[in-house]
Structures are given as structure tokens and as C-alpha cells.
Amino acid sequence: MAGTKEIRTQIKSVQNTRKITKAMEMVAASKMRKAQENMQATRPYLEKIRVVISNLSKAHPEYTHPFMVERPVKRVGLILVTTDRGLCGGLNVNLFRHVLRNMQSWSESNIEIDVCVIGSKGAAFVKRGAFNPVAEISGLGDRPRFVKVQGAVKTLLDSFEAGRIDEVWVARNEFVNSMSQKPNLVRVLPIAPETVSAQQHHWDYIYEPESKDVLDLLLKRFVAASVHQATVENVACEMSARRIAMKNATDNAGDLISALKLKYNKARQAAITQEIAEIVSGAAAVG
């Protein structure tokens, strides 16, 4: 009977694990729905602000904001949007791999990188590698607030304005659907002006109070909104990735349990057979 007891404890422990992963799966599924709604809700703002900016690039402003000017790139700012918690499959790892590839090509062309991390997984990643973290925020929760993101982005915006960095990129996971997320890296600064066709007639906005102030406000909002959207989307990605990961874990635990059960029954029956054999042979020896 030696083997059976161990197998029984093993089955118990796997069953407990399965209970936990099952619970996590269900929690992630319900959070995913909320995160997706949240993602839809933040979209109109970004879309509208994008429309305004594209109108702006069609206008002929007397003042060009530094955010819209391309400069030779010597140093880039990278905003890395990650999750706070693990157990969400390869979500963060895939993003890191994607980012590393780009970082490599940057460093090959002697471009230095300032990293602003959102989420504690990213912070750990930056600590491990020899990167230059300039800002770090974590614990945004399931509904990242716009104001908090604004604070985090401010450092990079300030150094962009001061000319210390020449480009700002955002690395995050893109929500394709609840089954797949795609890591991607997009440039948010400088804002590429749309190519203007020559036949458009000249017009410009009236600015209240000053063109510089209004544009400054608008473009800063735009960057913050882009990053905010990225964080919100990342939460949706996290939840759906976690749901899938936990579903797989639950399924695997189920497979493991049935394999162990089979092994347990075999061991139990072997023990019984052996006992019977011993009794029969004992009786035969006596008789």
C-alpha cells in the first residue's frame, strides 16, 4: 500500500490547484468584460482628439508646436505599458521580446533610451536589463485613471520639450480579440503632420487665449490620451490573457488528476491482488 497514500495526497494538491485556477479564470472573465467596456468608453475621446489634430495639420497655423517637429534622433523615450501581476500567459514576455528587438536596433545606431514604465512587471524587466528608467508607476488597478497617466507621462513630455529626447514611443499590447493580443510599438511624438494637398484653401483657427497655450494643452492631452488608451487596452489584454492561461491551467490540472487517478487505482488493485495472493498461498501452505 506504500504508493497509494502518496498518490492520494498528490491528487488532493492538484485538485486544490485546479480550484484556484478555476476561480481565477472566472474572476478574469468577469473583469475582462468590464475592461472591454472601459476600453470602448475611452475610445471616443482619443478618436475625437485625433480628428482635431488632423484638422489642425490641415490648417496653416502661424505657430508650429515643438511636438509636431521632426528632429534628428539621438535619444528616445519609451513608455512601456505592462501588467502589475503575472499569471497571464506570455503577455508581458511577448511584449518584452518585441521591445528588445527594437531597443537593439536603436542601440546599434547609437540612440540612447529613456524608459518610463507603467506596471510592476515592466519595472522588474527594466531593473534586470541595463536600461535607464526615468519614471515608474504601478498599481493603476483595473480602471487606470487619466490623471495618473498624465503624471507619469509628464516627465517624458518635459524632456521632449527641453530637447533631451527626440522621439517618444509607446510599447503595449494591442487587443485584437479576447483570444489574441498583439504586442506593438507606436510612435506618439513627434506627431506626424498629415500631408497636405496643395489645393486646400488657407485657413487657420482663432486661438483663445494664445495659439501656443492651446496647442500645448491639446497636444499634451493627445499624448496622455494615447497612453491612457494603451493602459486601458492593456488591462483588457491582461484579463483575457489571464482567462486563457487559467483555462489552460484548469484543463491541464484535470488531465493530471485523471492520470493520477488511473495510477492510484492501478496501485490499489495491485495491492489487493497481492494481498489475496498472499492469503491464498498462505492457506495452501497451511492446508
Binding site: 472601459n38 468608453a41 475611452t42 471616443p44 475621446y45 475625437k48 482628439i49 480628428v51 482635431v52 484638422n55 489642425l56 490648417a59 487619466f146 490623471v147 498624465q150 503624471g151 509628464k154 485657413w203 487657420d204 483657427y205 482663432i206 486661438y207 483663445e208 487665449p209 495659439s211 497655450d213 492651446v214 496647442l215 494643452l217 491639446l218 492631452r221 490620451a225 491612457h228
Partner: protein
């Protein structure tokens, strides 16, 4: 039928309204600004205050915005608010909770010493304006349509 202009009010976390209007009043940093359809292109900075939208039937809807930007095109007005509140939502809010929210924001300013303070301070100022606004519409203060 009167001439109308498309109005969209969006805040950072949701779309607040979208529809046609004959007259819109927005609180800019330079003072209140009334916009009628076919207004020339304009970009203005908003401060915390009340937005009034008059529709084709002459019904006025009230909104609170905590700041942001307004873009005016001849055919469309876009209000990019940092946060916005509808009149009917404001009425449904629990007053005590709002007051507590403001207190919490104010208390945090004293503790904080970092750069994020600016955002907190601004948040508190906006929250105060918001509270005042909610009180005013609850107090039954009548707004004329224009």
C-alpha cells in the same frame, strides 16, 4: 427648421453627448463663449464650468466640464473635456459623497510633496467647481436658454 451644428462632448473616460444644437455656450479661460452654427474655426482652452447646449426645439441641456479644449468647425463643435458630468447624472449623485470626495482631495494636497501635486491641486479646484455647480442646479437656479 433652424440651422444646427453637430456637437460632441467627450471626456477622457466616456462619450458624454453627441447631437445637433442651435446654440452652445462653453466656459473658456477668457470667459464664456457662445457659439452658433457656421462659426469660424476656433480652438480654445476650457476651464471648469458649465456647458449649455440648446437644441433645435429650444431645450437647454446642462453639462459640467472640468477643463479641456473646444474645437469649433463651421459644421461641428467638439468639446474635449477632462471630465464631464451630465445634469441628470448630477441630480442623481449623493451630495454627501461629493463633499467627501472633495475633502479627500484637499487633504491629499497637504500630504503630497511631489510633482503629481499639480494634478492633485488642479483636481481639487475642479472638484470644488463641480460641487458648486451641482449645488447651483439643485438649488433650482434657473438658467435661461441663452
Amino acid at each position: 427648421m433652424s440651422i444646427t451644428v453637430r456637437v460632441d462632448i467627450v471626456s477622457a473616460d466616456h462619450a458624454v453627448m453627441g447631437g445637433e444644437a442651435t446654440f452652445v455656450v462653453v466656459p473658456t479661460t477668457m470667459g464664456e463663449l457662445g457659439i452658433t452654427p457656421r462659426h469660424t474655426q476656433l480652438l480654445a482652452e476650457l476651464k471648469a464650468g458649465e456647458v449649455r447646449v440648446t437644441d433645435a426645439k429650444g431645450i437647454v441641456s446642462l453639462f459640467f466640464v472640468s477643463g479641456g479644449v473646444v474645437e469649433v468647425q463651421p459644421q461641428a463643435i467638439t468639446i474635449l473635456a477632462d471630465s464631464a458630468l451630465r445634469e441628470e447624472d448630477a441630480r442623481a449623485l449623493v451630495m454627501i459623497e461629493e463633499e467627501a470626495r472633495l475633502k479627500a482631495l484637499e487633504s491629499r494636497i497637504e500630504i503630497g510633496t511631489r510633482e503629481t501635486d499639480y494634478f492633485r491641486l488642479r483636481g481639487a479646484v475642479e472638484a470644488e467647481e463641480r460641487l458648486k455647480w451641482i449645488e447651483s442646479i439643485r438649488g433650482g437656479a434657473h438658467h435661461t436658454s441663452q
